[in-house]
Amino acid sequence: MGDNMNVAIEVDSLVKIFGKIRAVNGISFTVKPGEIYGLIGPNGAGKTTTLRILATLLRPTSGTAHIFGHDVVHEAEEVRKIISYLPEEAGAYNQLTGREYLEFMASFIAKSGEELREIVNEAARISGLGKRLSDKIKTYSKGMKRRLLVARALMIKPKVAILDEPTAGLDVIHAVHVRKIVKEYAQKYDIAVLLSSHNMLEVEYLCDRIALINKGKILIEGNPLQLKEEYNASNLEEVFAMVVSAHD
């Protein structure tokens, strides 16, 4: 295990087996505070399973994962205090207003009424939903809902943000807004961000480092620009295709 302060996420030989399926097959990586790390891969590669293990939702079959030195299995409650997890298909409580939802989620973090108000105001700013925060969530569009959820994930300025496809299903305008916010928060508050994405453009823009993952294994890891140079490719999609075909 590395130094707690210099390593935000440390994953070592992680394996997760569902019945006969080896969803995650011995992956290892580390993420530093303030760094945005992307897990890139096709459907079924094991990205979501890895993120869920780190979010303390699933238990690894073998291997270990630590968040700022806390074991995600044995110190799950400590881990939950410092992470924020945004699932890929996350929803919100349709009968609550946007503001009530943010207040509900913030109430588990805030230690006073004043702190709660500050967190919610921060979320209101991130989401950019303005007066619509007073409306019930069931009236929101998909994009508005995702912005609300991203705001919920970042409003508490977690030490580690685990974002599964943060811009999935969003139109260009909403996606640009979300990416900008994620980058801003990682830099401004030294948040370690672990995200998964299909969108190579997004990955190039956001990530400091990426890992290309396929069939539960990390094939290559590195800085997006360096990887492009290394493989003499014009974009990450080409890199990905080359790496996958080399391994198949």
Partner: protein
């Protein structure tokens, strides 16, 4: 923990109260359904009873003697007509002299409610002390209370005619006799002896009526409370999956047991409010129908002593048993509901578990009240769903020992079920558990599809 719990409970209540499907279907409709039905029936009864309109009854007198004619001129019978807003139409005065004509008159005149045909041999029969037959035609205009009230008025007329004839015959046999006394020479004064105690002035039917109303109302109330609580808890869990909020909720810095207890508490609070309102409405409905307003000449304490009303300590025991059963049922529910993908499948899944139990419970109550199946009492007291239904009956009968045994069993079972639920919610099973039907064995599918699509 307290704040987190409070936040979860508040959220749960808000979601239920604001969801029109839940609020209308499970709270508002049951709450107002019975009072509305009760008010409707009450107003129908009252309006038919208070009808100012006169009921027209046609009479065809074919009597060859003079008895029938004398009878219809009798001041007592005329007084009965007036008291009951009855107007007699003498068909003989209208030139009608046959049965066929009189029946045609009845069918052609909507204002006529009934027709009495006094036979030719009426006087002869009475003089010879042979029962005479008066044909009574009643037009049933509706199947409602109006038709019922019309029929009642005709029966009043026929009954009065009968009484007048009795009086006539008595007077004929002995001019010094008092017909009122002769027809009612004995007055009974009911004294019901129950459990060695005399209840004066109360007939046994009143006591059994009270017992039955308690014996039915209690289990019914408890069953309703459990059913709606179970529904709310199932919806609470399944809607987290349906709305895809469960994963975010489970990664919050709050103990899983707090989330679990918050969900249970929210369901319990809403259910209690719903059940109380529902039972008030039901009680109102029942009292509207059977007029349960008649008071017995005996105090509540005395009724409790006789096991006809639940005494204070009985309510405490009942409260404990209902609470523990509720927790046990809800703990089972939140685990079962976690296997469902959405609200609808959670409700379907639960019906497999609770429907047989409801049927078993209701059957048991009928059996026990019928005096059979008492050997199954302890078994029923061990099942969380049937326990409070049976416990209510046991408290009424004063069998506190088996109730306390049931409470001990419920406490143990509740502890086990809550432990299982807490373990379930602390593990990844709450997310990955699925039930697949249509196979010989029900198996848990480990989210393979989701893994493949991630």
């Amino acid at each position: 923990m307290t704040n987190a719990l409070l936040n979860i409970v508040k959220k749960e209540i808000k979601e239920i109260v604001r969801d029109p499907r839940l609020f209308l279907g499970m709270i508002l409709v049951p709450l107002i359904m019975f009072p509305v039905m009760g008010l409707g029936i009450r107003s129908m009864i009252e309006s038919s009873a208070k009808q100012e309109q006169i009921t027209n009854i046609a009479v065809l007198n074919l009597d060859r003697g003079e008895l029938a004619e004398q009878m219809f001129k009798n001041p007592d019978l005329i007084a009965v007509f007036e008291q009951n807003n009855i107007s007699i139409v003498y068909l003989n005065d209208l030139g009608i002299s046959s049965e066929e004509e009189s029946v045609r008159y009845l069918t052609e005149n909507e204002s006529i409610a009934a027709l009495l045909i006094i036979p030719e041999n009426f006087s002869e029969c009475i003089y010879n002390q042979t029962p005479a037959t008066i044909q009574v035609y009643i037009v049933l205009k509706s199947a409602g209370f109006e038709g019922f009230a019309g029929s009642t008025r005709v029966n009043v007329v026929v009954g009065t005619i009968r009484q007048l004839l009795v009086n006539y015959l008595i007077m004929k046999m002995d001019p010094n006799a008092n017909p009122t006394f002769v027809t009612n020479p004995v007055v009974s004064y009911p004294v019901t002896v129950y459990k060695g105690k005399e209840i004066r002035g109360v007939p046994p039917e009143a006591i059994t009526g009270l017992m039955f109303s308690q014996a039915f109302m209690l289990p019914f109330a408890v069953m309703f409370l459990l059913l709606i609580a179970v529904q709310f808890a199932a919806i609470s869990v399944a809607s987290e999956k349906e709305q895809k909020t469960l994963e975010s909720l489970l990664t919050l810095p709050v103990k899983r047991t707090t989330i679990l207890i918050g969900k249970l508490t929210g369901s319990i609070i809403i259910s209690i409010v719903g059940a109380v309102g529902y039972m008030l409405g039901f009680n109102f409905y029942m009292s509207s129908i059977i007029g349960m307003t008649e008071e017995l000449p005996i105090s509540v304490e005395e009724l409790a002593e006789l096991g006809l009303m639940i005494p204070t300590e009985g309510y405490l025991l009942l409260g404990a048993t209902v609470f523990l059963s509720l927790l046990a049922c809800l703990s089972i529910t939140v685990v079962i509901a976690a296997f469902a993908e959405d609200v609808r499948s959670a409700q379907a899944l639960l019906s497999f578990v609770f429907l047989p139990t409801v049927i078993l419970g209701m059957m048991s109550i009928f059996m026990i009240m019928g005096g059979v199946g008492k050997e199954y009492l302890m078994v029923l007291l061990l099942i969380p769903f049937t326990n409070p239904m049976i416990a209510g009956l046991q408290i009424l009968s004063g069998d506190y020992f088996s109730v306390i045994l049931g409470i001990v069993a419920m406490a143990a079972e509740t502890a086990i079920f809550i432990y299982v639920a807490a373990w379930f919610y602390s593990s990844e099973k709450v997310l990955v558990a699925r039930l697949r039907f249509g196979k010989k064995t029900v198996e848990r599918e480990m989210e393979v599809e989701e893994v493949l699509s991630s």
